[in-house]
């Protein structure tokens, strides 16, 4: 309960601070809409010359891409910025402050000020997704929708924990901003159909580099496609990565030397 309140307070503070830089805020939003639009346009063009890609029709693909964009923007708006703050804090000594507060460390590392325009960028893919769904609404049940939302959240959790697991390398190497490239790569992979990873590497992209649980899993539930795994396993992947990142955070902390001030 306290954590919900803390999170809410952070949101309020960020909104208050963000209203001061309005112009940039709108332009960032436009940029993200353009980005969504261009990605969808290239899909449109590809499907101009093929009927389906590994069994994914154009409509399916749009659902997949929008899902990956939503997962991406939720992570970027709420978590990514704070994880980067944590990485910088490990280098500059700012991490001291987190250690002093009587609040769960994992929570502090992942949350904090909200990147408002990143979060608002969700609007574009959500609208496209809804309009796509309204076309297919006859086939979609309420269970599917709630499962979709569950797996969407699970996707964000997997992405956040996976990235944190990598960012905790900052305790060893200090400068690790190159890891951001892995994030971009993950998002690139997440928006592709899971068939791309081939049968041989499938388990690798579930358990080692978890690209499939991010967007493929929720999209699959929504589209009623046959899952490669029992559904509960996707949630298990989420739990596993949360545990791994927690362990890594607490192990890494022992190496933390703060900064000489």
């Amino acid at each position: 309960m306290k954590y919900v309140k803390l999170f809410y307070a952070q949101c309020k503070l960020s909104v208050m601070a963000a209203t001061m830089y309005r112009a940039n805020f709108w332009l960032m939003l436009i940029q993200s809409i353009l980005n969504t639009f261009m990605t969808l346009l290239s899909v449109e063009f590809i499907y101009g010359s093929v009927e389906s890609i590994a069994g994914w029709s154009k409509e399916d693909m749009i659902v997949l891409i929008c899902t990956s964009l939503i997962v991406n923007q939720m992570y970027r708006g709420i978590i990514h910025f704070n994880q980067n703050r944590f990485v910088n804090g490990v280098g500059s000594g700012g991490f001291d402050k987190l250690l002093l507060r009587p609040v769960n460390l994992l929570f502090q590392v992942n949350t904090g000020p909200i990147h408002i325009s990143g979060l608002l960028s969700i609007i574009a893919p959500v609208i496209v997704l809804l309009s796509q769904l309204s076309k297919m609404s006859s086939h979609i049940s309420a269970t599917q929708i709630s499962l979709y939302l569950l797996f969407l959240i699970n996707g964000v959790v997997v992405l956040a924990s996976f990235m944190l697991l990598l960012y905790t390398l900052a305790f060893v190497f200090i400068k690790v901003d190159g890891i951001n490239n892995i994030y971009y790569l993950m998002m690139d992979m997440a928006s592709k159909p899971q068939e791309m990873f081939g049968k041989e590497c499938l388990y690798g992209f579930l358990w080692v580099i978890p690209a499939i649980p991010l967007a493929n899993a929720p999209a699959m539930v929504l589209l009623g496609k046959r899952s490669v795994l029992p559904l509960a396993l996707y949630l298990l992947i989420g739990v596993t990565f949360v545990l791994l990142s927690t362990v890594s955070l607490h192990t890494g902390r022992k190496r933390y030397t703060s900064a000489s001030s």
Binding site: K5, K97, P102
Partner: protein, 266 residues
């Protein structure tokens, strides 16, 4: 039992030796060389409840490192630290709610917001009841003479005013043990005096235990009951401040004398 207990505590930093020039950089690529730096060496002391202890020493003597180990930020390389009955690095919630660490030169507040908003957030983090919160804020704001500034954006405040806000922020939840690392760094005389008065008064009202480091001897002389002197990570003096206040020597001279004899001992 003493509220702070430090037994045989050491801290060794392992630093990567930065190579100079191009060729040694290439060599370094394959074989890193590290040097070990002992910042704190076999430290022993204890502090009783309600005491104010001054931690003195030259730059690099290991004062900040000691405070960071006492607050659980750093793991000691060896030895045992107990504060308020807890091991600091375990980060138990009850422990963290009892301590506070005032860092003179660091703060990660949101600069765009006024101080009250920061205090509200702090209230939430430390579960401070509303009554206690408003009492504490008005009591401290009055003592530090910043009542009229509570609603001003933090970035518009001067260094001294900001430091006072930081103090309020750190004392907001009535901690039992407070560590202050150079709380008067860069402040003018008036603010320095205000902060000293605040600390003394606060201790008398709340029986708070404090450890202070400062390079302004007046801070130490006026607020502390006891002084611990660190030299190159080792304790070379630990005693009542009265021992140093002699009629034939000023406090500063006394400290300088101590440092000299500490050097000779080695």
């Amino acid at each position: 039992m003493s509220i702070i207990q430090v037994e045989h505590v050491s801290k060794v930093y392992r630093v990567h030796e930065k190579p100079e020039g191009f060729r040694s950089a290439m060599k370094d690529l394959f074989q890193r060389r590290y040097i070990e730096k002992t910042a704190v060496d076999e430290l022993n002391f204890s502090v009783e409840q309600g005491e104010i202890v001054g931690l003195l020493g030259e730059n690099g003597a290991g004062k900040t490192t000691t405070l960071k180990m006492l607050t659980g930020i750093l793991y000691p390389t060896a030895g045992k630290v107990t504060v308020a009955g807890y091991c600091p690095t375990e980060r138990k919630k009850d422990f963290l709610k009892q301590i506070s660490f005032v860092m003179g030169n660091k703060s990660d507040v949101n600069w765009d917001l006024p101080a009250v908003d920061t205090f509200r957030y702090q209230q939430l983090i430390y579960d401070v009841p509303e009554v206690e919160f408003s009492e504490n804020v008005s009591y401290m704001a009055e003592l530090l003479e910043v009542k009229h500034l509570l609603k001003t954006q933090l970035r518009r405040l001067s260094l001294g005013e900001r430091m006072k806000m930081e103090l309020i922020n750190c004392f907001l939840y009535t901690p039992k043990v407070v560590f202050l690392d150079e709380p008067t760094l860069g402040l003018d005389l008036r603010s320095q005096i205000a902060i000293r008065t605040f600390l003394k008064k606060y201790r008398n009202d709340h029986k708070t235990t404090m450890m202070i480091t400062s390079h302004y001897m007046d801070d130490i002389e006026e607020t502390c009951d006891r002084v611990i002197l660190l030299q190159k990570g080792q304790k070379t003096f630990d005693g009542d401040i009265a021992e140093l206040k002699k009629p034939e020597m000023s406090f500063k001279e006394g400290i300088l004398n101590l440092m000299g004899s500490g050097e000779k001992q080695k």
